[in-house]
């Protein structure tokens, strides 16, 4: 056996793999071509928040079913990572679970990328506790006392002014610093983005770990997006939040009318001015606003009110959508 023969086999193997892959790609185009009409074509690159991604994916899917010539891809680099690519002109639309920040505004200016924030749905950040826990409501001050950077509270009985008596060790769960959920929670509860006690169970990007952790410990408390609560409704409780106007539970209604404060947060897409020159992106944005409502509800988000929707449409129009 010579080495050249062996190399030949190797090359053959590699070619085979590429060949199989290439064969795969040829029949797909034809099969999709038959399903939908529309004479739009081209590709739309979307990246950004992993919270917003399911909404964008579901809308994109329906859009592609009707416009088979358009290829939409959705990435989940996170809100910050998404803006990084967006401001370099590498994506057409950025998903965001918070508003664009000053440094990112600067980067977009440098990259010559014009944009507008389009509000597409609302999320009610939900503070979840164990089913055994008798507490039903905490004030924002109490939450701040628990999650604050200097907090020494390690037992539910140490929480100031708590009506119920509950002697269980506090087990805190929350996302890591890369998460938009983390940014929003720390800002609205502790007053400054990123400021929090450090000795909580950091689950990183895996909000399901928060759910599991709270389910498993009687003194558990953790926060995540509303959908993580609705998908696990029987197995844990959502805390009501008192922002000075009485206890309000997280729900579609309270998030829509703004009474679930300060934890209901808007979710955005940022289309770029340059991308909106392309007819397929323009059509996609219009389609997005038209259809995101029904999609939002089925995925555990809070749809826009009529008023918010027309505001979003107006915002999109301003940059040419």
């Amino acid at each position: 056996m010579t080495s050249s023969k062996w190399l030949a086999v190797l090359v053959a193997a590699v070619t085979l793999v590429i060949g199989v892959a290439a064969c795969g790609s040829s029949d797909d185009d034809t099969s999709r071509g038959s399903s939908g009409g529309g004479d739009l074509s081209g590709s739309i690159r979307i990246d950004g928040s992993s919270t917003v991604a399911p909404l964008t994916e579901a809308v994109a899917e329906q859009f592609m079913a009707e416009n088979s010539g358009v290829r939409v891809t959705v990435g989940t680099s996170g809100t910050g990572g998404g803006f990084e690519k967006f401001c370099a002109g590498e994506t057409d639309i950025s998903d965001a679970s918070r508003e664009i920040e000053p440094e990112e505004v600067e980067a977009c200016k440098k990259g010559g990328v014009g944009y507008k924030d389009v509000h597409i749905a609302t999320d009610a950040l939900t503070v979840m506790i164990n089913n055994e826990n008798p507490v039903s409501c905490l004030t924002v001050d109490q939450l701040a006392a628990i999650w604050g950077p200097d907090s020494k509270i390690n037992n539910w009985s140490e929480i100031p002014d708590l009506k119920e008596s509950y002697d269980e060790e506090l087990a805190l769960f929350g996302p890591g610093t890369d998460s938009g959920t983390f940014d929003y929670f720390t800002e609205s509860i502790n007053g400054e983005e990123g400021v929090t006690r450090k000795d909580y169970n950091n689950v990183g990007e895996d909000d399901n770990a928060t759910v599991k952790g709270v389910e498993g410990s009687p003194g558990g408390m953790g926060y995540a997006g509303f959908s993580y609560y609705t998908e696990n409704e029987g197995s844990l409780k959502a805390l009501e939040v008192d922002n000075g106007k009485g206890c309000v539970p997280p729900s579609v209604d309270t998030a829509q009318d703004g009474s679930y404060a300060p934890l209901s947060r808007p979710l955005f897409i940022y289309p770029s001015e340059q991308a909106l020159q392309k007819p397929e992106v323009k059509a996609f944005i219009a389609y997005y606003l038209e259809n995101v409502g029904s999609v939002a509800e089925s995925l555990g988000f809070v749809p826009l009110t009529e008023e918010q929707l027309s505001e979003s449409e107006a915002a999109a129009k301003k940059i040419g959508a």
Partner: protein
Amino acid sequence: MEAGRATAPRNRLAVAGARSTTEAMLRNQPRGDVIRNAVFAGLLLLAVAIALAGLLALVIQAFAKGSSALSLNLITNPPSTAFPEKAGYRPAIIGSLQLIAGVMLFVVPVGIGAALYLEEYADSSRWWNRLIEVNIQNLAAVPSIIYGILGLAFIVRGPLDLGFILAAGSLTLALLVLPMVIIASREALRAVPDSIRQGSLALGATQWQTIRTQVLPASIPGIATGVILAVSRALGETAPLLLVGATVFVTFDPTPFGTDGYSAMPVQIFNYALRPQEEFQALAAAGILVMLVVLLAMNSFAIWLRNRYEQRW
């Protein structure tokens, strides 16, 4: 070579015979020795069991969670958020296979080439060659996310400026596993007895002829093992791919140089695992099973290839 093949079973037979003879002759070994012998064998067995238990636990857990989502859809359909019951991994599987093919195209010639230079040509008493050696070993321990940043800065943007295409992902993964291939190939080359080289050179072969006809064929099994391990690692990498542009929602089949975007198995599994909905978590578990099958298929092909060309002295 035929003779070479026959010696292996003969060797094994000889060892087994010697062992049983020793055991028969030394039947009255001291008690302590007998016990130590048994304990040692037991510990070895335990090590094997621990290694297997990890894999078994993973498979059982993935099966328990993902069995509801197991269907042919997984390999024939694109991902779907609106209809999770129809969702699949097709573009991700095709993307991963292409990524791996690209990795092999790059890593096999470059990795073996570098190993050959360092083993056969470089003078290891020179300080710069030792510096290269140390650095290659260090490179193998660099976290994969660093290679992702490197890929983003130098391959996707910067000097190469390939953009967010599949080939850029391949190159990044190739750089990531290259040190592994070089190290394994060097070990394999070192295992070839020097007498083979000296014999070949004594018969008048040039160094190139010696390497091509003697050293390289003899070291192929070892090199192949290194390549298998490296490629398996590349298949499972998520972090660097996220940086160099692999996205989670791609409904068409990607191509190596297509600018429309691409996806890969681990990236999509990761994305589904993070979703709150149970359907997607089941899909993620099922995806793990699909990936294990792909990995197993690739590895068995490579192992078959290795055994086919194995050579013994």
